[in-house]
Structures are given as C-alpha cells and as structure tokens.
C-alpha cells in the first residue's frame, strides 16, 4: 500500500506550509521514514528563543502504526525524558489511540503545544513534574537555563 505516497504528501505539505515554529526535513534524502524537525521554543515559555532538534521516526506500518517523537536536544520538561533518548510520551501516539488518518503536522503541533503547556499529570519525569506544580518559578529558571545552554544556536 502507498505509505510512501502518503508520507511524501505529508512532507510536501509540511515543507510548503509549515506550522508556526516548525521546520522539517528528511534526515537522509533517500529515507522517507526518518525526519529531522527543528522546533522553536514557544513564545512566553521558558523555552523561548531555543531551537530544538526533534527526531520523528515513522514505522514501516505507518500510517497504521503511530510515529515516535524524541528530542535530540536536551530539554528540561516534565513530559520528556531527561536522558540521551529524550523520549516524549504523547497520548495520541499510543498504539490504541492512534488513527491512520491522524496527521504528522498535528503530532508536531501538539508536541510544540506541550512545550508551552506541560502536562504534569502525565509526566515521564516525576521530579520535574513535582517542581512544575509546587515551585514553578524554579522550574522555569532551570528550563530557561537549559534552553540557553543546550538549545541556543551558536
């Protein structure tokens, strides 16, 4: 079936009219299944002015199977693992929630939205979530610091 066709179409759409703060390209021109996404930190969030490299991997079963999203740039965020994987846990990316007609643009927009508004109740980093809820100021401080340190283009 034409997963190639679908992916090519989505890529074309995302390149010609990208959502705000998002830029995509193939990691390797010959491989449609690995994408590089450059995501700007949303305005007003502690990630503002940062540019984050996000890896988007499509499984061979795409679009019947969900893609995976991970942050290659280190980021201080309750919903993104604080390790070299930088995995992001999105409800819509769970196998039983994912619909084949869901769009990658929606996934990326959702991911960016999550930077603006973390969801501490579905956190993968409990400690950061705790801090986000109880000591938001400190959380923002560290997040800003990390953004400056890891996500600011030279």
């Amino acid at each position: 079936m034409g997963s190639q066709k679908r992916i090519a179409k989505e890529l074309a759409e995302l390149t010609s009219s990208p959502p705000e703060g998002i830029m995509v390209e193939l990691a390797d021109e010959a491989n449609l299944f690995e994408w590089k996404v450059y995501m700007e930190g949303p305005e007003g969030s502690p990630y503002e002015n940062g540019e984050f490299l996000v890896k988007l991997s499509l499984p061979t079963g795409y679009p019947f199977k969900p893609p995976t999203v991970s942050f290659a740039t280190k980021i201080y965020h309750p919903n993104i693992t604080n390790d070299e994987k930088g995995s992001m846990c999105l409800g819509m990316l769970r196998a039983d929630e994912w619909k084949p007609s869901s769009k990658l643009s929606a996934v990326l927009e959702f991911a960016r939205q999550l930077l603006a508004e973390p969801m501490p109740d579905d956190a993968v980093e409990g400690r950061i979530a705790e801090q986000y809820k109880n000591d938001k100021k400190r959380y923002e401080e560290i997040a800003r610091e990390w953004t400056h340190k890891h996500a600011t283009p030279a």
Partner: protein, 630 residues
C-alpha cells in the same frame, strides 16, 4: 451433629443406575458403570441387581450389545408389567442414589437435557433440574435461554427408549453443590445473539447497533439498558460510539473525486467505505486497519472508525462487509471472549485448550459463604469463584490467604521454628550462629541472654554463665516466645497435613495411571469381566477426590474459630481421613489380593464418598448460615 445417613441400599436403588450404562454415549459408560458399583454397598446384592438391570433394560428396547441377551428374553414378559411400579419405587429411592453418585462424576454429559418424555416429567420435575448439575433448567438462565435449536441435536445419540429411566436417576442437590450449566462456543454466541435481537427489537435499532450498546454497557441486564436508553438516548448513543444518525445500508461505493486520507490514493475506480459517521476511506486501507486491530491488538468490541478523532465504533455489519473470513472467525472469537469476561454469571473453564464456559449464578459477594465448585464438560472441576482447582470446603477468600501464607511461610517456617528465637523486645527473628549467650539485637539493640531470654543487665556477675532462669524479665520473655512459637506450631500442624494430602493425592494419581493396567491384569487373573473390575477405577477416583477435600479441610481448619461446630468439623475430618487411609491401603495391595478385597473396597469406596458428602454438606450448611466465623 451429623446429618442422618442415607437409607440402606436395596437392589432397586441399584436398578435405577444400571440402565445408564446402555444409554449414555460410549465414552461415559465406563464411568457410569463405576458409579453404579458404588451405589451398591454390598456385594451380595450385586448379582441379583445386575440381573434385574438386564431384564429391565429389555423392557424398554432391544439392545443387542447387552452382555446377557438370554436373561432379557426370559424375563421380558413379567417385567413389562412391573415397569410402572418400578419407576415409582425408584423415584422414592433417588435420595440414596444421589448421595453416592453425586460426588463421583457429576457432569460427564452436558448435553442430555431435553430427553424427558411427557409421561415422566411431571413425576420428577424437581430432580430433573438437578440431574447432573450442569444441566440446569432454562429459567436458571433467565432471559438468556436460546437453546431451543440445540435440543433437537441432542437427541441424536441417545436411545429414547430409555429416556424415562433417565429421569429417575436424577439426584437431589447437596448443600455444597451449586447449579451451573456448561456452554460451548456456539451456545455462547447464540446467547449473545438472542440478547442482541431482543434489545434491537425493543429499541427499534439495527441489531449491530444494539450489539454495540450491549457491549458498551458490558451486558448489563436488558431492563437497565433499555431504561437508560429511553431516558438519555442521544448521549448514550454518542458515548457508545454509535452517533445519532441511523440510516443507510452498509455497502462499498466508488465516489467521484475521492482521495483516501490514509494512503492518499485517488484512482477513479477506488472502492471506498464509510460508516454512518461519513469518514470515508478506501476499502484497502479500511481492511488493513481492521485486520491490524483484530490480529495484532486483539481488539473487537471497541474498534473505532479510522477517522481522526472519531470515536464511532465499527459495527459487525461493516466488519462483515470488509474483512476476510478467517478474520471474521477471529473477530467473533474475540467478541465471545469479551462477552464471557463481561458477564458475571459466566466464566471460562481454566483447563488448557478447553473451549467451554460455565454459567453459574453465584455472585462474587456470596463467595465467603458458598464454595461454587463446577465441573466442565472437559471434566475439569474448578471453583467458579476463583477458577482455581476445586477447593471444597474452604471459601475462596481463605484459599487465597492460605496459599499466600504458604508461599511466604512454609519453606522457612520449619527452619525458623527449629533454629531461631525472637528478640524479646522487637520480636525480630534471631539466629544464634555461634559465640556467647550475650545477644544484642541488630535491630533494636536490646541486650538479652539467649538462654533465659532475660535482660542481660540483670545478669550481674553471673555473666556468660546463665543460671538465672527464674528471673521475671526472663520468664515474661519466654511466655511471649512460647506464644509466638505456638502460633507457628499451629500453622505447621495444619500445613503439614495439608501438604501431606497434596502429596498423597499426587501419588494416588500416579497410582491411578497404573490402575487401568491393574484392572486388565486383575481381569485376566480372576476371570472377572471388564465391568466387574471397574470398582478399582472408581476407588481410585474417589481416593483422589477425598484427598483433595481433606487437603483443604486443613487449610480451612487453620482459620476456624474454636467452638462446638469446629469440633464437629474435626470429627468429620477425622472420619473421612480414617476412611481414606484405609481405602488407600487396600488399593495398594498386589493384584492377586484385589479380587478378594473387592467387597471391602466397594464398601470402603462408598463409605469414603458418604463421609465426604457429609463433611461437605455439613460445612456448607454452617458456612451459609455464617456460623463458622473466622
């Protein structure tokens, strides 16, 4: 107080059991014959009874495979006249028959309902319901009965000539037995279908929508579902994933200017499909999506429309239209599985590879006073409440606690008992692995003497040589110690007996595997017929069953409060245990002696069985009245 023992056996009682041999399917004949043998307590009666049985048999039809055709012909005429009388007498005696046959094999024949002939149904209505407890009556299922078709099929292998006899062998339900019914997958499907059609007819919905509603509400009672539907139709349809628009027929279409959102194909001849929500995709994608859900995710009852953010459930008609046959089978299987999982009155038989489910009305909340043992058509006997192997007479809750306790305790308890003491202050278990008697507890730093358990500081100058046995702190500590030891000993007392019976049952089972060989060799050595050596098979089965029961009585006793009822319980337990041990001993005798022991073994087998029934009945009665508080 023991319930009164059943009346003494008579040839007539035997009569009622024997004909079964000739009317049950071959696979169960052996078993039936064995039961017949138990029903008869005394050998002297055996011969006359067998004869009578043959003659009786002849009155109904001419079965040529009976061993003694001559007998039949001889007595055929006289028997014809007394047949009616027999029937009444036997009915009178069914109480006895049941007590001996009930526990051996209650339900080898799940499909014998519907063989009643009009002449006898009125006479033995009560017992009809209970006969072989898995064939409960239709009204037991309440609204779910949809077996009308199956009755017809069941006639097939049965000789209707005997059907009136069959009614008479029914047994009265014992206090420890519950009503249940074995369902095979087609029956389960029919049950679902009947409910779906019923709801569909009442609510004026297409059946596939009614099915989604029922599954959505996890097969609650229809009245409740209908009530809810009437009061909040739109919300309910929405929540169940049905949407409110109900129109159109399920069919695939070719649509102009269409591009599938999933694969982005847009050929002019693309077959497409959409459910009532209007989300249209090409048939290939739809199919691929559904097969992924069914095959890989094992989903069936709640597959949503492939459309983004659409929660409409894919109904069975859409599914039938789109997927291949093998997937349909899998789909139905999954639906049936969810159906059984959702219904409180249904449970799968846990035996490996077994396809049957049990229908039983015992509720979870009643499990503290009922032990609902059921027997599947595959012969596996298990508890309907917890799916574990039959654990009469111990209620599920205690079984769970006991097993947990054994898992935690038993391996180590013995060793602890032998090698350790508890710290007199914090009760930590301490092993003294050398050194002097001056102990300092690692945990609470309490210092005490290992010999007298008293405070070390009180030892004064007699350090390292304890002679202060009578000091107060020491004797208090020892009392506490004794208490904790006593509770450990008590546990070990029950555990050891529990474990012993478990072990013996395993050995008996090995023995059982050799029984058939024994039977063959006994046959050749003694000149007895195959039917006549069945008593060994029966004895072996009864042994295992009684051991199973005994094993659990010990777990049960561990949790019992001590009162006069526990004494009765323990008396019953002791009686059964004695009987079982002596039967076990006889059973292990070498083959040549077995023929001589036949009468004794028959007697003992029947006795064991009786004791078991008494113990279980007594316990079940007290349990149901919540008299055995623990």
């Amino acid at each position: 107080m023991f319930p009164t023992l059943p009346p003494p056996p008579t040839p007539r009682a035997f009569l009622s059991d024997v004909p079964l041999r000739f009317i049950t399917p071959p696979s169960t004949r052996k078993r039936k014959a064995a039961e017949a043998a138990i029903a008869d307590d005394t050998l002297p009666l055996l011969k006359s009874a067998t004869k009578a049985a043959h003659t009786r048999n002849a009155t109904s039809t001419s079965l040529s495979d009976t061993p003694s055709d001559k007998d039949e012909k001889k007595k055929e005429k006289e028997k014809e006249n007394t047949k009616q009388q027999d029937k009444l007498d036997i009915e009178h005696l069914t109480g006895f028959v049941s007590s001996s046959s009930s526990s051996v094999g209650q339900s080898q024949c799940p499909k014998k309902r519907g063989i009643a002939t009009p002449a006898t149904t009125t006479a033995s209505m009560d017992s009809d319901d209970d006969f072989m407890s898995d064939m409960s009556s239709d009204d037991f299922l309440g609204t779910q009965g949809s077996d009308d078709e199956s009755i017809g099929e069941d006639f097939g292998d049965l000789d209707t000539g005997f059907s009136d006899d069959k009614e008479l062998i029914s047994h009265q339900r014992q206090p420890f037995e519950v009503e249940f019914k074995v369902l095979d997958p087609p029956e389960i499907e029919r049950e679902q279908l009947a409910q779906i059609n019923n709801v569909a007819a009442i609510l004026g919905l297409p059946p596939e929508s009614a099915a989604i509603l029922l599954r959505f509400r996890r097969w609650v009672q229809q009245e409740r579902l209908i009530e809810e539907y009437i009061s909040r139709e739109d919300e309910m349809l929405e929540e169940a994933g049905l949407g409110t628009k109900c129109q159109g027929v399920a069919k695939t279409e070719v649509v102009n200017d269409f591009m599938c959102e999933i694969c982005c194909e847009d050929g002019p001849d693309l077959e497409t499909y959409a459910m009532r929500c209007g989300h249209r995709f090409c048939v290939d994608c739809y199919r691929h999506y559904l097969s992924g859900k069914i095959k890989e995710e094992g989903e069936a009852a709640r597959i949503e429309c492939p459309g983004d953010n659409c929660h409409r459930i894919v109904d069975s008609r859409s599914l039938d239209l789109l997927v291949t046959d093998d997937l349909k089978d899998r789909y139905r299987e999954l639906l049936t599985r969810t159906y059984v999982d959702d219904k409180e009155n249904l449970r799968w038989c846990p035996a490996p590879e077994c396809q049957y489910a049990i229908d039983c009305s015992v509720k979870q909340r009643d499990l503290f006073r009922i032990v609902p043992t059921v027997v599947c058509a595959c012969k596996h006997d298990f508890c309907f409440g917890c799916s574990l192997k039959d654990h009469q007479p111990t209620p599920c809750l205690l079984v769970k606690r006991w097993l947990q306790k054994c898992e935690d305790d038993s391996e180590t308890a013995n060793w602890i008992s032998a090698n350790t003491k508890e710290c007199p202050r914090c009760q930590s278990t301490i092993e003294k692995n050398g050194g002097c008697n001056h102990m300092t507890c690692r945990k609470c730093k309490h210092e005490f003497c290992w010999m007298c358990m008293g405070l070390w500081s009180e030892h004064g100058t007699s350090w390292y040589n304890c002679s202060r046995y009578e000091e107060k702190s020491g004797s208090d500590a020892r009392t506490a110690q004794q208490k904790s030891r006593a509770s450990l000993d008590r546990y070990l007392h029950y555990y050891n007996r529990y474990a012993n019976h478990e072990q013996s049952a395993k050995l008996d089972k090995d023995l059982y595997l050799k029984t058939e060989k024994k039977m063959t060799s006994l046959q050749s050595q003694s000149g007895l017929s195959w039917i006549e050596v069945q008593f060994l098979d029966t004895a072996s089965q009864v042994l295992q069953q009684c051991r199973q029961t005994l094993k659990w009585t010990y777990a049960f006793a561990f949790y019992l409060e001590r009162n006069n009822l526990t004494e009765i319980f323990e008396d019953n337990q002791k009686d059964l245990e004695l009987a079982v041990e002596s039967l076990s001993e006889m059973f292990e005798k070498p083959v040549p002696e077995l023929a001589e022991l036949k009468v004794d073994i028959l007697d003992k087998t029947a006795y064991c069985n009786k004791r078991r029934v008494i113990l279980l009945s007594d316990t079940a009665e007290n349990l149901s009245k919540s008299k055995l508080i623990h």
